[in-house]
Subunit: 204 residues, 2 copies
Amino acid sequence: MNNINEKSTYHHGDLRETLLIVATKMLQESGIKEVSLRKLASRVGVSRTAPYHHFKDKNALLCGMAEKGFEQLHQINKCGYEDKELSIREHFYRFIHDYIQFAHNNPDLYELMFGRTIWKDKSSTQELRDSAYPCFQFQVAMTQEWQKKGLFNVDDNALRASQVLWGTVHGIAKLFIDGIYTDNSKIDEICDYAVSMFLTNAKQ
Amino acid sequence: MNNINEKSTYHHGDLRETLLIVATKMLQESGIKEVSLRKLASRVGVSRTAPYHHFKDKNALLCGMAEKGFEQLHQINKCGYEDKELSIREHFYRFIHDYIQFAHNNPDLYELMFGRTIWKDKSSTQELRDSAYPCFQFQVAMTQEWQKKGLFNVDDNALRASQVLWGTVHGIAKLFIDGIYTDNSKIDEICDYAVSMFLTNAKQ
DNA sequence: AACCAAAGTTGACACTGTCAAGTTAAGGTG
DNA sequence: CACCTTAACTTGACAGTGTCAACTTTGGTT
């Protein structure tokens, strides 16, 4: 393994993890189009096909990267929600802002996490689903709590409310990320407006 | 040209249009990944590089396809809005349903129209922008009208309202299209819920 | 009739993901 | 210690991609 004298370069030691890290770095640096197995391998200093001993194919590697993204996002949601000093409205406000900020800070990763590359055609790995579903469910749970406390004036259907809410943040995030909304300085303003559109008549 | 005896196969006659049509068909049949210039050319019965005389590169072809998509979508929006028999609430309802239905009926085309492939890195062609912007602007204009008539209880900022609204429909559409919301039978229900989340306290 | 520009062709290059077959070395067993 | 299984890694190969350069065909204009 990697001791000081870097002997024995044949076996890398922790190639799987290294691949994930470097691939994610490449993703952030130059976008998904620049992430190729060959470039990745060469950058890690290993032969073209070495990654195949750790990932079934390129798709599996991408799923692995997305997996970590969902853990991050889940963590962010949790942090905001568990801040006991905030009111309900503030929790709601923070969820929207934090979510879109995460997407904005990690555009290519976000794109990967929610893109059809990974989800369509049943190409998502079990591990990816195991990491993504809890993240989704947490959002539903939060919405349920907000709804119970009267934040939205609609039927008590937490799943539907959460789907619409998530749709909104996801949509705004994607329109920015994909370069359709181009004025990044307006992100916060749009988030504010979204909050007020949902909450104008909330009981609390 | 293509007369009955199909003489003179060397010059196709209307290759540009044919390429757009066949490429869009391929897109709908098997998804963006199956759309390659070489397969397209061979399917049209022309050599690999013939398309380059009508499109600068693959990106330009994709932009051309998206262009037509925006014309369609614009048309759909117009139709709904100009139906004089509907109330304002019904117009709003119809916009949301029609929009998401369009995306659902043309998932790969929608993906292409709004994906970063086309919009990021300044890779959108002028023609694409000329076809997309009026479509966007029409949505802003509709929102402005709705807002004037008191459909939303927030400041009279039509641009912001429209951005949030569009975010919502775009997000819901994408979550379905990309395979994250998987139960297609719930599309209408979610749309209904979205409508009610925005309108619970509208003046009209 | 001559010619030009547009449209279409073939050959080539660098790049991609992935498979098959061979090589290296680390770890457990006798 | 020697042995051997097996995971990790390598090289060679193949089919597929977008795109460029150089060539050929053709229709329309002068």
